[in-house]
């Protein structure tokens, strides 16, 4: 079992049990948690709401086949899905100031995360809208509803239910993705870990710690998703 490229120092056990590392991790925990709760979570929520709004509008424009707007939506999805998130962040934060558009780091992060995930979620929503049977719409017209009422009362709620697991995926992915905001100077949880590490040089310990906090947050979201799916299961799909 010789792994020549993986050299584990003989003193690893003593290193880990060394009280200095534990002290650092213990002391940085409330600080990391606080940045997680005060910055990472709100950044995720606001960006996600923005993404959700964008995705619903973009999906509905395509569903209703609004002529020119539809082309614009396809273009938006094509560009956003075809370029890396990191590049988009850099472009807006470091690139746009040279043409006179200067945004603060946090608003930049919210906009980029929102528009980025919005493109993926728009496709999720479009698929979900198309999965609602035409008969539901026809029945809506036949009982005297107009298009907007049919969308609001019948099609959107059913599409949302179908899209819920995939949207939850997007939310979880976005929560982790907010760590990229560190690259454009947003003081969020991961950036905090970097800052602390800059002083104490405990990369393994600190990045493990921050990873575990992300894992904790995502576990909470997974639990919420489970709750939500149970609630939505009361109509359609699963028989009681």
């Amino acid at each position: 079992m010789a792994l020549p490229f993986l050299s584990i120092p003989a003193n690893i056990i003593t290193n880990i049990t060394e009280s200095r590392l534990f002290g650092i991790l213990w002391e940085s925990l409330p600080r990391l948690l606080s940045y997680g709760i005060r910055v990472t979570v709100p950044l995720t929520i606001v960006s996600f709401i923005l993404a959700l709004l964008i995705s619903v509008v973009v999906a509905m424009i395509q569903y209703a086949d609004v002529k020119i707007l539809r082309q614009i939506c396809r273009f938006y999805i094509w560009v956003i899905r075809g370029t890396p998130l990191l590049v988009q962040l850099y472009l807006v934060f470091y690139g746009l100031p040279s043409v006179g558009i200067t945004l603060d780091a946090l608003p930049t992060a919210i906009l980029v995360f929102g528009f980025n995930e919005g493109a993926y979620m728009a496709e999720t929503m479009r698929g979900a809208l198309q999965s609602v049977s035409v008969g539901q719409v026809e029945a809506g017209y036949c009982v005297g509803l107009n298009y907007i009422q049919i969308m609001w009362h019948i099609v959107l709620p059913q599409a949302f239910r179908t899209a819920f697991p995939a949207l939850s995926n997007s939310l979880i992915s976005m929560l982790k993705g907010t760590s990229m905001a560190a690259t454009i100077t947003v003081m969020e949880m991961f950036r905090q870990a970097q800052v602390i590490n800059g002083r104490v040089y405990e990369s393994l310990g600190l990045y493990t710690e921050v990873a575990l906090i992300y894992l904790l947050f995502c576990t909470l979201l997974t639990w919420l998703q489970h709750k939500g799916e149970k609630k939505l299961a009361s109509f359609g799909g699963t028989k009681k």
């Binding site: 029945a139 809506g140 036949c142 009362h153 009361s234 109509f235 699963t238």
Partner: protein, 248 residues
């Protein structure tokens, strides 16, 4: 004459599905639209309620004449408020309870207040024997129960006519009876109905008139008794004969 439909044509791709259909419906009539599969019966019914856009034809409803290919959204909306449509596969709103399925059209479509809508809906559901399932969702009901709720949804808006598009074709054989019983009662109460159906016994005993279609044409149209006892055309004779012999 309550409903006067003239010269309806409809073409899908390269196929002429309807080649000039006429139909008159008097108040209180129950018209059975019969014919072999692919004869255009369902398409005709869907054109009459503008679920498909006819390429040619006029419809006169209570004195209002509408050109079918060019009717405006507003005009279609006005006509639909006087009618109800019952689908082959029920099309109950999956995200709504039984009660909400019936009230939605009343509150959102006809701008009734909630209490009034609820009263009317409960009454309509009582008439189809579904008043004990108000809070159930469609997936929790059998096909027959769903179709009865769909009929109640149609009844609730007090339509002048109800269109039925093969209302029992998707049902298990043992569930057909309960739906036909509801329809039979409606007919007895004087409801005007236009029914696309394969249920010969129902057509024979309930309908007042028959429209027999094949290949996009009306082959024969007339009072039910006459159609079944003395069919005028060779084709109707064959059709009736084949159905009766299939039954044995």
């Amino acid at each position: 004459m309550m409903l006067k439909i003239r010269d309806v044509h409809k073409r899908f791709e390269n196929t002429d599905v309807l080649k000039g259909i006429d139909l008159d419906v008097e108040k209180g009539d129950v018209v059975a639209i019969l014919g072999p599969s692919g004869s255009g019966k369902t398409t005709f019914l869907r054109c009459v309620n503008f679920l498909e856009r006819a390429d040619k034809g006029t419809i006169n409803f209570d004195g209002i004449t509408v050109d079918m290919p060019t009717a405006t959204k507003q005009m279609i909306h006005t006509l639909r408020k006087k009618t109800a449509f019952v689908f082959q596969n029920y099309n109950l709103f999956q995200n709504k309870t039984v009660l909400q399925n019936v009230t939605l059209g009343l509150t959102a479509g006809l701008h009734m207040n909630k209490a009034e809508a609820r009263d009317i809906a409960e009454d309509a559901l009582r008439r189809v024997g579904m008043a004990d399932k108000l809070t159930s969702y469609p997936v929790q009901l059998s096909g027959g129960q769903q179709q009865r709720v769909a009929i109640a949804r149609g009844l609730a808006s007090s339509p002048e006519i109800i269109y039925f598009d093969e209302p029992t074709s998707a049902l298990d054989p043992e569930l057909i009876g309960e739906v036909l019983a509801v329809m039979r009662r409606l007919a007895e109460e004087g409801m005007t109905m236009l029914v696309v159906t394969h249920e010969m016994e129902f057509a024979r005993s309930v309908s007042s008139r028959v429209l027999f279609m094949e290949g996009g044409y009306v082959i024969e149209s007339g009072p039910t008794a006459e159609f079944f006892q003395h069919p005028k055309t060779q084709r109707s004779q064959e059709f009736i004969h084949s159905l009766l012999s299939a039954r044995e």
